[in-house]
């Protein structure tokens, strides 16, 4: 390993620590946690602000804050969207611990203290290209078949494309789905889709906070090129037992939380299961033979335990387990002496686990030690068992499986030496096991297959290392910079890849409400996704960078303006340019469905991609009417040496225009209306422009290049009305929703077909979903 990057990194950390300590020796530190009153749930990114000297900070991902101020009178405001701001006035004479519990506001209305500035508004933050959506807003938006979906809500943001109809895929600023780092409580989730992409794996009832980072990546993030979706689970109510749940058209869910030891230990457990298979079983039975049973379902289970040893030490253990399964079982009399049982199916899913220990070394230093496990598995199986009256029973089984498993250990430290600096640094190591496709046969009492055997790709082991440091530095009252360095390495099959990734974001306050922001980030990704579809099918395979398929990398500068009007309306305009190197694509004519995974490296080609555009965003997060309007004008092109004859071509998910509106209107405490409307340019497709004779007499097709044509534009209106009522023991909410309210037949794919009536060929567009009503019943207690 080259020692220089790490020496540079160490010097940088040392310099920052030394300089920041020495500059502010006469100050005292206020520190503590900001929680929700009643439940004790941590409030992440809550603002802590001294309105006397305009110094402030925000809580970290564990609700901890640290604010160092000169010894003097202070007025500290604690605020969080949807909660009543609290103010503490006192004379700061010593280091002080203040744990604050904020009370939820009834109308999601921010309480603003007259004459003071209570919140670090978004134009003041250094970070750009980052959007936080309150989970309450996500849950209030119309949902497909009544199933609240975090990723589908993110698709409604500028710079994010959802891919095809119904999909929960994320294509961020011209990136592909594998370039999104989707973190659930800090653990990567490799396949975030249920039902072939129609739903995401995240159960909204168990989620506390969702953050999307599209660019200007802080140095603490690494390993993906295009985005970070940071999803934090709730911790569980410390004081009393509560629950919420929903019974919907296709699924139901239930969440229970409460104290195990009051004010010490809490838990939350949340489950969801679909019942399409149960509902449709009688119909399927009538269409099939009585002996056959088929179906599909998915389920999720989230659980978390949070234990507070002391104000300085806390332990969190959380996990997620989810599975999709489609099956077909058949049990019938094969002949007079044989009963045959066929068992066929496909299942896939993620399992994640994380144990996290928070330790406060001092009121300025907060540490977090995390160990995680994540596992994504995909399996197709088929077996035939014959129960014979005359001969021994026979069995033949086939199994094709793939997966990726990670163990990782991370140590992160937040150091807040003074209000001018917020330093984060840490290191981590991840041990990957790739199992990119293996086939196994087993049999009993069958002469042709006496022994079990398997073939396909062998497991590949790889280690990934990273170390980072970042500082959110208020250089002057107007200029603030978040600078950092992320260094990483990847060891696979004796090859060591390494990279240094400088990151910087800055804002310059033109006036208190208006700022100019700029960022530059470089990213490296050591794993690739082999995909035939790009929409997140379970068959997609994760593979490591190798000697012939190098890691992906990107650079992304961005420039923007942020403006807040009346403390309520947030406007932003951002322009970005993203260049990606060594992205992979199947070579012309190659795919693993038919070719198998042997020598997959020979079947893919590394190339380059360019994405650039402008994003416009207006958001209102509080008040009776909340929501946002977003518009993206973008271009996304790719180029490979041999694909499309080496010429650039539009990415499959290139969309010139992408416009979305999301609105939530709370009429009163009992009635809430919401609607979303989305419009995107048509998807590029390859369609032949001529048919002609080849040199050997073959029939050949001419194309205007790959993805030379566009399907029709996509647009859709969804709406929902929520009717809530307090009951004796619980609050119930009926949700009546409609997906695709004006039944637009949006294109899903196009194929060429023969029309028997007219004796002609034509192109046919398949549209998935017309207008679909939904109803769900939600309850909280």
């Amino acid at each position: 390993m080259n020692i220089k990057p790490f020496a540079l990194f160490s010097c940088l950390v040392f310099f920052i620590l030394l300089s920041s300590n020495s500059l502010f020796a006469q100050s005292y530190t206020i520190s503590g946690y900001v929680t929700e009153k009643g439940s004790g749930e941590k409030l992440l990114s809550a603002t802590v602000y001294n309105s006397i000297n305009f110094s402030g900070t925000s809580t970290n991902d564990y609700g901890f804050y640290s604010l160092t101020l000169p010894g003097d009178s202070v007025i500290i405001n604690y605020s969080y969207i949807g909660y009543i701001t609290q103010q503490k006035k006192f004379v700061l004479k010593k280091d002080t611990v203040l744990n604050i519990a904020l009370e939820q506001s009834n109308e999601l209305k921010e309480v603003v203290i007259e004459g003071t500035k209570s919140d670090e508004q978004f134009q003041e933050k250094t970070q750009m290209s980052t959007i936080e959506i309150p989970i309450e807003q996500i849950k209030a938006l119309p949902a497909f078949l009544g199933e609240v979906d975090v990723l589908k809500a993110l698709q409604l943001l500028p710079g994010v494309n959802g891919g095809s109809e119904g999909s929960s895929g994320l294509f961020v600023r011209g990136g592909s789905p594998d370039q999104n780092l989707i973190l659930l409580d800090g653990v990567p989730v490799y396949n975030a889709s249920h039902l072939f992409g129609f739903f995401s794996v995240f159960n909204s009832d168990a989620i506390n906070k969702v953050t999307l980072v599209k660019g200007g990546f802080p140095a603490r993030y690494g390993g993906r090129l295009s985005s970070v979706v940071d999803i934090r689970m709730k911790e569980g109510n410390m004081n009393s037992y509560h629950g919420e749940g929903s019974i919907g058209v296709i699924a139901s869910r239930l969440t229970i939380e409460g104290p195990i030891i009051k004010d010490k230990t809490s838990f939350i457990i949340s489950g969801r299961r679909t019942y399409l298979d149960l509902i449709t079983r009688p119909i399927m039975k009538s269409q099939q033979d009585e002996e056959g049973v088929s179906g599909y379902y998915f389920y999720d289970l989230n659980a978390k335990i949070n234990h507070k040893f002391s104000d300085k030490d806390r332990l969190y253990i959380s996990g997620y387990f989810g599975r999709d399964k489609a099956y077909f079982n058949y049990d019938y009399q094969f002949d007079e002496t044989t009963q045959r049982v066929e068992d066929n199916g496909i299942y896939w899913g993620n399992a994640t686990a994380v144990a996290r220990w928070n330790h406060m070394f001092s009121n300025k230093i907060f540490s977090n030690l995390t160990t995680t496990f994540t596992d994504y598995k995909f399996d197709i199986y088929s077996s035939v068992t014959e129960v014979k009256t005359d001969d021994p029973d026979t069995y033949f089984g086939f199994d094709y499986f793939s997966g990726i498993y990670d163990w990782s250990l991370k140590y992160d430290i937040d150091y807040v030496p003074n209000p001018k600096h917020y330093i984060k640094f840490g290191a981590g190591v991840t041990y990957h096991t790739f199992e990119p496709g293996a086939t196994q046969f087993e049999s009993e009492n069958i002469q042709e297959f006496e022994d079990a055997f398997s073939f396909g790709s062998e497991k590949v082991y790889a280690s990934e290392f990273d170390v980072y440091v970042e500082d959110d530095w208020e250089v002057t009252n107007k200029l603030k910079i978040n600078g950092g360095l992320h260094a990483s390495g990847f060891l696979v099959n004796g090859i060591f890849y390494k990279s240094l990734q400088p990151r910087i974001s800055s804002r310059y306050l033109v006036n208190p409400n208006l700022s100019i922001k700029a960022s530059f980030s470089t990213m490296t990704q050591y794993i690739h996704l082999l995909t035939n579809s790009g929409i997140g099918l379970p068959t997609d395979l994760w593979v490591p960078a190798t000697d012939s398929v190098p890691p992906q990398s990107s650079i992304q500068p961005a420039l923007g303006v942020a403006y807040t009007l009346n403390n309520q309306y947030e406007f932003s305009i951002e322009g970005y340019y993203k260049k990606m190197n060594d992205i992979i694509e199947y070579k012309d004519g190659a795919n693993y469905f038919f070719d198998g995974l042997e020598n997959w490296e020979d079947k893919v080609e590394s190339g380059e991609a360019w994405a650039y555009g402008a994003e416009f965003f207006i958001q209102k997060r509080t008040g009776k009417l909340s929501g946002w309007i977003g518009y993206t004008l973008s271009w996304s092109n790719r180029q490979f040496a041999t694909i499309n004859l080496g010429e650039k071509f539009p990415y499959k998910y290139d969309r010139r225009h992408d416009f979305e509106i999301a609105g939530i209107y709370k009429i009163n405490d009992h009635i809430e209306l919401s609607a979303t409307w989305i419009y995107t340019s048509g998807q590029p497709v390859s369609l032949p422009i001529a048919k002609y004779e080849g040199a050997g007499g073959q029939t050949l097709y001419a194309y205007e290049g790959r993805n030379g044509y566009r399907m029709n534009a996509y647009h859709r209106l969804d709406a929902n009305v929520a009717l809530s009522k307090e009951k004796k023991y619980w609050t119930r909410t009926w949700n009546f929703g409609v997906y695709n309210a004006y039944s637009r037949l949006n294109p899903f794919f196009i194929y060429q077909a023969y029309d028997y009536k007219t004796n002609t060929n034509n192109y046919r567009q398949v549209s998935l979903f017309p207008i679909i009503p939904s109803v769900s019943y939600e309850f909280t207690f």
């Binding site: 012939s548 012309d588 020979d602 080849g694 205007e704 004796n759 549209s767 679909i772 009503p773």
Partner: protein
């Protein structure tokens, strides 16, 4: 609560993920009725060109519409040489005596037909790359297993050994960007056919390169036809290719021999054949993107390319 559940389940039974299909007509700018020219030049040969018309991609079936009244003019190194002569049904020729095609000559083709847009193309004849040696360097036995049915109808499993020749051909690559094709023929006084050969030579399995006609399996390529390759891994050096060929029993057969044909082809030739082959192979694959076929025919479709051929024979 029970009533609520029943209500929802009742509604659920009415709501299905209905897929509907809609016929749409795209404004695809087709390029039907364009001239299609397929012509290959090779020194010491009668050079031919086939001219036809492209059709609407949605046309039912496909029967090539040949063009018999086209004018095909050819120039060499900037000087007009002459016109091709129409032989039959859109098939044209020009004698090499008139053309005098030699390595490194540049040719330009202009094809016109009444009512059609004139198309042009150009190519350069590559240099001749002789096969400097061809020989059997080894013989060996390969174990194979197969099943068969015995006279009583039982499946029997047979393990046996079959003889193979290891053959080698050598040539010298000129050190420029070069493209080749190789074919192995088995010939005797009665028969002439392509021989199936296998090889582990990485030129047929190099990542990022085309592998026309070859089927990769565990690093080996097997082909029974013309196979394309580039000089990316041996540019400017002597290259020996080892090939495994089934050792045909030649007892009682007159003049049995293997004949190697090494073509030094132009880049256009290589690109056209490799992309064409991939499009044909990929047709009907719902998971593969369509392959764009290379063409150097301006305003039309097809190929105009040159090659030189050298041969070597191994008598058995």
């Amino acid at each position: 609560m029970k009533n609520n559940i029943i209500t929802i389940l009742a509604i659920s039974s009415l709501v299905f993920l209905a897929a509907c299909e809609k016929t749409v007509y795209f404004d695809v700018e087709t390029k039907e009725n364009r001239l299609v020219v397929n012509s290959f030049l090779q020194p010491d040969s009668t050079n031919r060109a086939v001219v036809s018309l492209s059709v609407d991609p949605l046309a039912i079936g496909f029967e090539s519409e040949r063009v018999s009244d086209a004018t095909i003019a050819i120039s060499k190194n900037g000087s007009f040489i002459g016109n091709f002569t129409h032989e039959f049904n859109g098939d044209y020729y020009i004698e090499n005596d008139l053309l005098h095609a030699e390595p490194n000559d540049e040719f330009e083709l202009t094809v016109s037909a009444p009512g059609k847009e004139t198309v042009t193309a150009s190519t350069t004849i590559p240099s001749l790359i002789p096969i400097s040696s061809a020989a059997i360097i080894d013989t060996f036995l390969i174990p194979i297993s197969y099943s068969s049915i015995d006279p009583y109808g039982n499946v029997i499993y047979i393990d046996t050994l079959v003889p193979y020749f290891k053959m080698a051909i050598t040539f010298t690559d000129p050190g420029t960007e070069d493209y080749y094709s190789l074919a192995v023929m088995y010939k005797d006084i009665f028969n002439e056919s392509f021989a199936c050969v296998s090889t582990n030579d990485p030129i047929f399995t190099v990542s990022g390169e085309y592998n026309f006609g070859a089927e990769n399996q565990a690093g080996a390529a097997t082909f029974c036809d013309e196979v394309m390759f580039t000089d990316v891994t041996f540019n400017g050096t002597n290259k020996t290719i080892e090939l495994n060929i089934y050792a045909i029993n030649t007892i009682g057969i007159a003049a049995p021999r293997f004949e190697f044909e090494l073509k030094h082809v132009s880049k256009e030739y290589f690109q056209y054949y490799t992309t064409m082959e991939k499009q044909v192979e990929n047709e009907g694959n719902p998971f593969g993107e369509p392959v764009i076929i290379y063409s150097n025919i301006e305003n039309g479709f097809g190929i105009f390319a040159g090659s030189t051929i050298s041969t070597a024979t191994i008598e058995l």
